[in-house]
Symmetry: C2
Subunit: 451 residues, 2 copies
């Protein structure tokens, strides 16, 4: 029993008056010792506090800082780690090893990594685990060197620094991003084993930035303009054409992710966020937007990122990621320890808006049941669904299907292949949104199957 512990007697309230005044003095000295407070501080005020954090850490015993933080057998009998020893930026427990899975492509500069969906429990993916797709590696950009140029069919071509963008009216939205190649292997069959490898090319973050419409208002778009070329500042010079109407609607020029700056893998210091559309058009390390009257027919939208159909035609500019869902627990390579109660849970989303309902089947689609959705359901974001299930020990095929606000329902794999074709060099790669099937074997093992 520790109900009357005096462990933090060193910080007694009765001393608070004088303490507050002493601390105010410390704060003043730290602030006055910092860099001059000017425009740079206005927009990057955090640097002050990095200094302050260092000052705070100096109050801790030197021996403790050097000694590391051993696991405590009985943490109630010895004090834990003192505050401020992490440089003011925390890290996860040494016991946590969940990781992105870097796909072993032959070229590690043109590759991707997948988010650990099996471990997710809500809808937010931590920035350190957000999926990646790079065409020529991850640039390391000094934000002070970075500008966004907007030109082409505009009245006033303009360049914006990152600091200038941060001063404009902002917006923050919780949104999913999905690579159009997510689940690409499922066109062929259940070759990959886990939900991380079959579905991990999607993640949800809170994205913060400036509505692109605001910037278009500043440069003045000329009559007849219909498309935007977006170009990234990477060695691939990644470029896509985007319809102008979408920019007037909801595109964000983002500088923030999950409460801090974009991560380097996500386009630091600037990227496009295009709600509901395929990831490859949401250009990272964004440096240039050119306004034109027609699509620019870049490599990425001619030789790549098109969808060849069975009749030989190709879908082009297939931007929208259609309704999709997947059960993340249980999922491939897990093993149920025995019969009894399990909560099936997973993620659902739609590039066309809000998830209206998710249904779950435990018998390969013969019967379907409504799943519960975590509230509130956010438009164009992952939605967490849950379904209570009692496993009787017999073989089961677990499936989920999503219906979005337009009434569209995620198709079966067979129906999707019948409509789009599974053949060809390119047609088989993108926009797989068929129903995913996990088989629970009688021994409890869970495996990917094409049911």
């Amino acid at each position: 029993m520790h109900e009357n512990s005096e462990a933090d007697a060193g910080n007694k309230p009765r001393r608070m008056d004088s303490l507050i005044r002493a601390i105010a003095d410390v704060e003043s000295r730290m602030l006055s010792a910092g860099p001059p407070v000017g425009r740079r501080t206005l927009l990057k005020g955090g640097a002050l506090w990095a200094g302050a954090a260092a000052a705070g850490a100096m109050l801790a015993p030197k021996s403790l800082r050097a000694a590391g933080y051993p696991v405590q057998d009985d943490p109630m009998k010895e004090q834990g780690r003192a505050i401020g020893l992490d440089g003011g930026y925390g890290s996860r427990s040494q016991f946590e090893t969940v990781a992105r899975y870097p796909f072993p492509t032959p070229n590690p500069f043109a590759s991707f990594s997948l988010s650990p969906l099996a471990e997710s429990r809500g809808i937010i993916m931590p920035s350190g685990l957000h999926f990646e797709r790079h065409h020529a590696g991850i640039p390391n950009i000094d934000p002070a060197s970075h500008e966004l140029l907007i030109h082409g069919m505009v009245d006033r071509p303009m360049k914006f620094t990152v600091e200038e963008l941060k001063r404009l009216p902002g917006i923050a939205r919780i949104l999913f991003i999905e690579c159009s190649g997510n689940s690409f292997s499922e066109w062929k069959g259940p070759l990959f084993k886990t939900v991380q490898t079959t579905h991990g090319l999607t993640s949800t973050s809170e994205w913060a930035g400036v509505p692109l419409s605001t910037l278009l208002g500043q440069v003045g778009v000329k009559p007849g303009a219909k498309w935007i070329l977006a170009e990234g500042r990477d060695a691939a010079g990644m470029t896509r054409s985007i319809p102008l109407w979408k920019a007037w609607d909801d595109i964000i020029v983002a500088y923030g992710q999950n409460g801090e700056a974009l991560r380097p893998e996500q386009g630091y210091p600037l990227r496009l966020v295009i709600p509901g559309w395929e990831g490859n058009c949401q250009i990272k390390w964004l440096r240039r937007l050119k306004i034109g009257d027609a699509p620019f027919m870049t490599r990425e939208e001619t030789s790549k990122y098109t969808d060849l159909l069975a009749d030989g035609h190709a879908r082009q500019f297939s931007f929208v990621m259609e309704a999709k869902s997947v059960i993340t627990f249980p999922s491939g390579e897990m093993e149920l320890p025995g019969r009894g109660f399990y909560e099936l849970t997973g993620l659902a989303w739609s590039g066309k808006g809000t998830v209206r309902r998710v249904e779950v089947s435990t018998n390969g689609g013969m019967t379907w049941h409504l799943a519960q959705l975590d509230q509130p359901v956010l438009p164009l974001a992952h939605t967490r669904f849950r379904y209570p299930w009692r496993w009787d020990g017999s073989e089961a095929i677990l499936q989920s299907r999503c219906t979005d606000e337009t009434g569209y329902t995620q198709p079966t794999r067979q129906a999707l292949i019948a409509a789009r074709g599974a053949h060809g060099r390119f047609g088989s790669l993108y926009h797989f949104n068929g129903i995913q099937s996990w088989r629970v074997r009688t021994d409890g093992r869970v495996e990917n199957v094409a049911a």
Copy 2:
């Protein structure tokens, strides 16, 4: 112009069929080389992928792994960092230095750190920047050694491992937590200078776990039970009494934060999350819940965490954090570079539910204007507000006030002090939710004032 770049020719779609099969083989080998897939894997499947990530990293040239990642003057002319060199868990840019501010209390084991609100742009605070409050340091707990005991007035005392809790029906909610001591210095006056030091003891995260009501259903609560003692597994044995009705309503036994496990500073591997209530009762490193028929009168709710009023009585069990808001931009110690347009922005919240409206004044409260709220407004979470302002160069006092769904409006500092008193040893410390005032001087400097 890079519209026809061939930078990732190494990953051509035409080779994808054979590539997919080759990769499926790699995945199979990695999975079979891992630990046996059993109960442990079921609930900690991420370990598999940590191994996979290491395997992926080995595909990158050794020289690159060793060399570090220099800043690129022209990132369009050289490839960036290869994928998978971060161990599958990304980190922020070297140019980002925003940090928590560890408060320089005399005892660094009984201390707190404040979130960098001035840098926040949405509502989510990254786990590494979430505010901290520790009474005896941060324990380093092996989750395999950790159990939650529920006993007292119950039919079946039970212990739960973390893995057992994860198997139960879950919940995830985006919620603010605020230390009851947030803004404590403002009872005295504008002694602290920045919004991080005046208001940084609150942060919003997505919390995931099990409804405490589910656990109470399992143990069976005896008639007459009305209170819960919650005890943490830290050297302070931090303990608080919590009314049982709140547990039936919405308390969460949380194991997850922002899409991954709780951070050590936030109670890894288990904590209480009590929506809308003061942080100190949301016990971290949670080890024990004892059900009783009366409050347990722990040190934390008798000598501390009470609010002495002017008439000598004290408010006790003052759990709810009432409606509050603060302008984060501009805020103390910033400097406006000149007259012209600024978007005032900040955070508002209420422990009683949803923020109904936020009003902004730029003249010290003489006139008020409705601010715009980022949608959707989530109950019991931070709400981002924005207000467009044209600064004419004259002195201005910037204020915000929050009204919640109950109709309660955040009071002025003077009204709050008149109602609660600013005197005494304890009465002046907790539950300050008065309107915050920032003065913009004619030279553009922004400072904390008691307007």
